[in-house]
Amino acid sequence: MFSNRTRLILSTVAATLTLALLAGVLLGAVVLKAGWYDIGATRQHGQLVYTVLEQGMRESVRHHARVVTVPALTAPQQIRRGAAVYRDCCAHCHGGPGFAQSDWGKSMQPVPGPLVDAARRWTAGELYWITRHGIKMSGMPAWEYHLANEDLWAVVAFVQQLPALTPKAYDEITAREADR
């Protein structure tokens, strides 16, 4: 068994940890209820908080998207369909070739990034998962209940083509699909 000294040390450690935990919970509750935290979107997260949240988001998407089976994504007709979906559902917040997002997309926090580099950051399966399920607390909506499954894949196919698209080519491909 433990000696008296060891027992004293262990109980002191346990008592200190319990008290620290209680003090932490109490402080947290006071800050929460007092409303001291500035929830305004003109006040940014610190870089550390942002980076940790972003890292968690990335790992979560990777983990959940690992079971997604990716279909063929190169058919011109599919890409054209994706262009129309992109124009109607994505461009407001993410912008596109040669144009920025609308005012509400510009001032969202976190800001919805351009998707020109999305296919380098994410695999096709991950892009599909993000589009389908959205990202909690980021403003990225889930499209599962608003778009047909073929349209989800079509927009992934289109996003993969974005880096090669000039503003003129974007105007053409989205104009041709005006009556989707």
Binding site: Q44, F99, A100, V111
Partner: protein, 129 residues
């Protein structure tokens, strides 16, 4: 053990060189902030509200690792904006407000930035460091 003695003139020269460098550094810093009009603190927030950080990395503004646009950390030291405009606040405001007018082929879109916001943003970007 005998300690090497440093001649007095070398100490004086070193001190003078250090003082000169410090003075020059202070001068150039003062010059940069003296030419920047507007409110850099307000400009820092404006940079978050016009989605600048979506494409550009900007010291002091929170966001992801992104290289769609050039990082703006060393903008104050650049000689030119977009490779053609001499780097000063007036030109930076012009570029921020309508990049396509300066370079029709630029990937940077027009973002609907007001004159005041652009001036404050330029102040933050040019004064920093």
């Amino acid at each position: 053990m005998r300690r090497a003695t440093v001649p007095a003139w070398r100490v004086v020269a070193l001190l003078m060189a250090t003082a000169t460098m410090l003075a020059l550094g202070a001068c150039s810093e003062r010059r940069a902030s003296a030419t920047a009009e507007g409110d850099p603190a307000r400009g820092k927030v404006a940079l978050t509200q016009h989605a600048c950080r979506a494409c550009h990395m900007i010291p002091g503004v929170t966001g992801s690792q992104v290289f769609v646009g050039r990082p703006l950390g060393d903008l104050a030291e650049s000689k030119f904006i977009a490779g053609s405009l001499p780097n000063n606040q007036e030109n930076l405001v012009k570029w921020i407000r309508n990049p396509k007018q300066v370079d029709p082929l630029t990937a940077m879109p027009v973002l609907g930035v007001s004159e005041t916001d652009a001036r404050d943003m330029a102040a933050y970007l040019l004064i920093r460091r």
